[in-house]
Symmetry: C2
Subunit: 458 residues, 2 copies
């Protein structure tokens, strides 16, 4: 049954790649207002494709920012499941241009990789879905399940208008599950099903001391040094075994079961020495680096500054010192609660003689996790296995994808994260690329996936 | 006897102030090469004055940088003590010019203060000595003691060439004691004898982690965060009671005797809340703020930085973090040894997974202290009492004056620090000024001083 769909994709490979190149040639940089018309052209490209292949309802929905493309094919009928495909057609800026080996908006294939801004993030992966829908429609006249498509143009600027649209049109966008291809595999050639993402919260705090920088000779020993007070505060947050010392931080975090530890151990280990340049990895006491990264909460200083930062010595007591912190959260941790616990900790541990100014980060995200035994996840694994000829791994990501948490919390539906990028894709950087192998095997995976999902009782 | 000298100063006050104005009008900014000719003019001014009033030997000694003025009057004879007067005729740059209420090099008197760059630091105070020498010579035909004068032109750029000259011409510059008027009183109208200065050592260290900034989601929990490692290192250096935790730091530091504690308690307390804006002062456990500032060693973070310092959040693990530290030392502490102890401490306490790069500060100074009961200090106190009509205080300075330590170590002679500046003088800042009361009473003090020193057996 999927045979002719796969044949279609093979027979039309050149044409489809040309079409993808056309998509990638549109400089749909959402953050640069000069490219606003290009962003609209990219939205139109997606909408036209959906219309051309026979979607019932296609809309370019205007927002306060860039438009969102909505498409619907409900031809599978009431008995079949409905999936919501999320993706984005906007891209990151391309500069610095001089670091690109070919032009960012003139796609070029070199050594089996397609080089262009957006090749991996996310136009390339969105187009794989569009091509697979085309293949089903052109060969079988139908996609095995009902599909709702939501491709936005503001992902790279924080999805400013998406969540309001989803809330307002909850009915229109609701489905049995969502699928997103905007992530990657843990290693090139290693098919990966993501079943969890971390949540996120953060804050910035400033320790204020004297009203201006002071002479360290005349006032040393008289006033509390805000930079030293900040060091004490920061050091009090986490011990040297990487265990967060904030009261209640780990409350509600489920212990890591043996089964999950096994799943994590099966994920091929990145050569951290090579990719990060550190001699030695360090992780939370009692957990491996992979366990800590994927399944345990973390707290990191993202930046700090205070006092004299130029060359040589300037003998001052700084007037203030500032640090930026973020925490990555796992299920069971409420971002607002964790933020408050950190604030309470800082206030409680503040040394005398200085004051504290806290700026809570307004953005946050809850962690997301789906049971790796969920039928939708199992099917994803089976489809990957069939296409790549290799056992997939089941991984959780240390990072956050806010849209996943939003879909989860607005629609209460599972999200399948089926990403085909690789660690070498250089997202957001010069020379972004996407392996053609991912393009071919990824589409094959999707064909199997839709075919299998059709018969699944959810 | 000093009567006619004092009368001379009174009778010639206007003319002497005009002469000072002429001195202050020369923009002898040592750090700006465009002013090199002006610096030479100021040197000439000092030399000419010494020649005019009858010094035996006057030289403008060229150096690799700006010249040094040497003058000698040995007319008091072999039986009388010889004093070395140190001062400097160069000044700090005047910018930002728009913050001055009158032009920096057009002296102007307002509300009893003489406003000009260098009025207090140090041309005004140098000129007081020159005027007093003139008064003695013009009235009595002699100064009570032998005088060697060393007025340099590079103090504001670190006295780059001074020390080599002093070493090379040790014989020429040697004396029984030195006197310096390049400091201030603890409060306006409160005559002050400084009997101690702190020493100084410092270093900068960088904690290196990953070879570039990393995504805090993907690598959080895997690599040691260099900013957090730095916070732990910094926090380990000093506890919250301001006690330095470096092994051996306080070794060799003498306990503060009851007598000295009494002297310190008598120094009028600065209103730290007002001058620094802090709610609460903080000092080393067991010591008052004044004791800590004047007589106990300190360690301060002068600046620190690492990672993202812009607005908002950037979720990275910084590649490195850097801190700058300086310590102020008291007698008994060797700067090189203390620097090494801090380096040892940092290396010993470095968390795993990061590396340490230390840049020791090449400049250092030993602490300086003279017994407050030394006859030269007693006489200074008596002279101040006589001129100001007020009991002087005996204070140690939390800051360092490197030239004092050099004179001490090259010549092994006591240094009398008789400064007439006030906390309101705004040295190095716009609207530098010097109170005319200091000018008058300071010269009176010096007249008494030279008269009394004459009869002192050193």
């Amino acid at each position: 049954m999927s045979e002719q769909v796969l044949n279609y994709l093979q027979d039309n490979r050149e044409r489809l790649l040309e079409k993808l190149n056309e998509f990638l040639s549109i400089p749909s940089i959402s953050t640069e207002s000069v490219h606003k018309p290009d962003v609209a052209v990219a939205a139109r490209f997606v909408a036209d494709h959906l219309t051309d292949i026979g979607f019932n309802r296609v809309e370019v929905q205007e927002t306060k920012g860039h438009p969102l493309v909505y498409g619907e094919w409900m031809g599978a009928g009431d008995g079949a499941p409905t999936a919501l495909l999320y993706g984005h057609y906007d891209v990151q800026p391309a500069d610095p241009l001089d670091l690109w080996d070919s032009e960012p908006f003139k796609p070029e294939v070199r050594d089996g990789r397609l080089y262009a801004r957006g090749a991996s993030d996310d136009k390339g992966q969105v187009f794989m879905h569009l091509a697979v829908f085309e293949a089903f429609m052109k060969t079988e006249g139908a996609i095995p399940v009902n599909i709702k498509v939501c491709i936005e143009g503001e992902e790279e600027i924080g999805s400013e208008n998406l969540y309001q649209v989803l809330e307002d049109k909850k009915e229109q966008f609701s489905a049995d599950f969502a699928i997103i291809s905007d992530s990657g595999m843990v290693d090139t050639g290693q098919p990966t099903v993501l079943y969890g993402l971390k949540g996120f919260t953060g804050l910035e705090f400033t320790v204020h001391g004297p009203s201006s920088d002071l002479h360290s000779g005349i006032y040393g020993g008289v006033v509390r040094n805000p930079a030293m007070a900040m060091a004490h505060l920061l050091a009090s947050l986490k011990d040297e075994q990487e265990v967060v010392q904030v009261d209640g931080f780990y409350e509600g975090v489920k212990a890591l079961g043996e089964e999950e530890r096994k799943l994590i151990a099966e994920v091929p280990g990145e050569n951290y020495q090579q990719t990060t340049g550190v001699e030695e990895t360090v992780s939370e006491k009692g957990f491996t680096a992979k366990e800590h990264m994927m399944a345990r909460p973390t707290m990191e200083i993202n930046g700090l500054f205070g006092g004299y930062q130029g060359e040589g010595t300037k003998t001052i007591i700084p007037s203030s010192a500032t640090a930026k912190l973020t925490c990555r959260l796992v299920p069971g941790m409420d971002p607002a609660r964790i933020q408050q616990l950190v604030i309470d900790h800082l206030q409680k541990h503040l040394p005398s003689g200085v004051t504290l100014d806290i700026k809570p980060e307004p953005l946050s995200a809850k962690a997301y996790k789906v049971n790796p035994d969920h039928p939708l996840i199992k099917i994803a694994g089976q489809s990957l296995q069939q296409a790549f000829g290799k056992e997939p791994v089941y991984a959780r990501l240390g990072g956050s994808i806010p849209v996943v948490e939003s879909i989860d919390s607005i629609f209460r539906m599972p999200v399948v994260l089926l990403g085909f990028g690789t660690p070498e894709d250089r997202l957001h950087s010069p020379n972004e690329s996407f392996p053609l192998e991912s393009f071919d095997k990824g589409m094959e995976t999707l064909v199997y996936y839709w075919s299998k999902v059709k018969d699944t009782s959810l």
